[in-house]
């Protein structure tokens, strides 16, 4: 399944790379020469069902475009990761929150005062 995820990522990269111009399935496939045209169409359809890609029809040709920019999705991930969302604990378990600059100075000093080998318990 990891291969499928990677392929979806590459297809999205192609669509994001087109600067908003909708592409035909053929045009997407041309940029992924190691993949069959039908595979690319399947992936585009999967992405459409996941609401990541929209399809427009001009005459006989289907054209595909990303529903939102890469930056939009990245911003959404970052909002959750940086903890701006109120109930972030519901989604993520985060590593660090913020300390004030004054506290950081005190903590850095405390770390420097440690003996070099203190507490290193390598298995």
């Amino acid at each position: 399944m990891a291969a499928l995820g990677e392929l979806e990522r590459r297809v999205m990269d192609v669509l994001w790379g087109s600067m908003g111009t909708p592409l035909t399935g053929r045009q997407v496939a041309d940029q992924l020469p190691d993949r069959a045209y039908t595979t690319v169409l399947t992936i585009l359809d999967r992405l459409r069902r996941k609401n990541m890609v929209e399809r427009t029809t001009e005459g006989k040709a289907h054209r595909f475009a990303a529903l939102a920019s890469r930056e939009t999705y990245m911003a959404e991930l970052m909002v959750e990761a940086l903890g701006s969302a109120q109930d972030r604990q519901a989604v993520l378990v985060r590593f660090a929150e913020a300390v004030s600059p004054e506290e950081a100075v005190v903590l850095r000093q405390a770390l420097e005062d440690l003996p070099e080998d203190s507490g290193s318990k390598k298995p």
Binding site: A2, G5, E8, R9, M12, K50, M52, R70, Y73, M74, E76, L77, M78, E80, A81, L82, G83, S84, D87, Q89, A90, V91, L92, V93, R94, F95, A96, E97, A98, V99, S100, P101, E103, A104, L107, R108, A110, L111, L114, S118, G119, S120, K121, K122, P123
Partner: protein, 304 residues
């Protein structure tokens, strides 16, 4: 009056648990020396208070049978199964039954809603990660997100994802990075997303109860410490501590979260560089208190 007395004792127990005992526990420093047992203690309090509230309602509702708690609940059940649940029901009985049923229904539906919302939010986050993050070549099991902000987190799920941004990789040295990833593996390995789930159900409508206000934050902090311990068993605690300081001073999250959040990082760094980070005695004390909390309401109702 026997069961009315029990109902009184159970109500007193609930008040004791969710107000003074909760406030005391939220201020107690010793629990940080055994974060996992302390998390279990927080859960025991919530579980016990729920049990005691439902129990108190049932006591009031079953006094009229004069058959003790177990016998009374049995007759109540027979009445419900037999299709005449309201037969002989006086005002106090009805109030008791309403309390027991409401607490049960409200809690279950709250948890249900939060679980569903959380599962959906995590699924969306995972979908976006699949499109934006690339599996790390050098560190198996982690995803790399190409973003200058230094973030490191674990997205819980059946197969938890550990995500490290390129900003984090630039900020930290190799030892720090390894410690941070191990911290996230701790979250994933100990299923902290699942542990946190009941706590996130204690939302706004319950915030007038001290337990609902204090427990989610306390448990979240304790889970960070538990993951710190997981990492500190495998890497130098000082690497993790310095990584924590580096990340928390550069991440620049919104100002409103500042004051309370900073406490968590400061305590964790001080804890990591202390020699007595964990203690068996703290674990035993927390375990004992949790057991007493859960056994107490059961003992009250089963003794009559």
């Amino acid at each position: 009056m026997n069961l009315y007395l029990d109902a009184g004792i159970l109500s007193a127990l609930v008040v004791l648990l969710v107000c003074p005992f909760t406030s005391w526990l939220a201020r107690a420093n010793w629990v940080s020396r055994s974060p996992r047992a302390a998390v279990a203690l927080w859960h025991s309090i919530g579980f016990s208070a729920t049990l005691a509230t439902i129990g108190a309602g049932l006591c009031v509702a079953t006094e009229r049978f004069h058959a003790g708690f177990v016998g009374g609940v049995g007759e109540l059940g027979e009445g419900i199964v037999g299709g005449h649940p309201l037969q002989g029901l006086g005002l106090p009985d009805a109030l008791g039954l309403t309390l027991a049923a409401d607490v049960g229904v409200v809690l279950f539906s709250m948890v249900g809603v939060v679980v569903l919302r959380t599962v959906l939010a995590r699924a969306r986050h995972r979908r976006l990660l699949n499109l934006l993050a690339t599996p790390s070549q050098s560190r198996t099991g982690t995803l790399t997100l190409d973003h200058p902000s230094p973030v490191a987190y674990c997205l819980p799920g059946i197969r938890p994802r550990i995500v490290i941004s390129s900003g984090t990789m630039r900020l930290l040295d190799q030892a720090q990075l390894a410690a941070v990833i191990e911290h996230e593996r701790g979250h994933a390995h100990e299923r902290h997303g699942l542990v946190m789930l009941p706590m996130t159900s204690l939302t706004e409508p319950f915030r007038w109860i001290p337990y609902a206000r204090l427990a989610p934050r306390a448990v979240a902090g304790l889970l960070e410490m538990a993951a710190d311990d997981h990492a500190a068993r495998r890497h130098a605690p000082s690497s993790l501590a310095s990584a924590l300081v580096a990340l928390s001073t550069s991440a620049a999250p919104p100002r409103c979260a500042f004051a309370l959040a900073s406490l968590g990082v400061k305590v964790r760094v001080q804890r990591l560089i202390a020699s007595d980070r964990t203690s068996k005695r703290a674990a035993i004390a927390a375990g004992l208190l949790g057991t007493i909390a859960v056994v107490a309401p059961l003992a009250v109702v089963l003794s009559s």
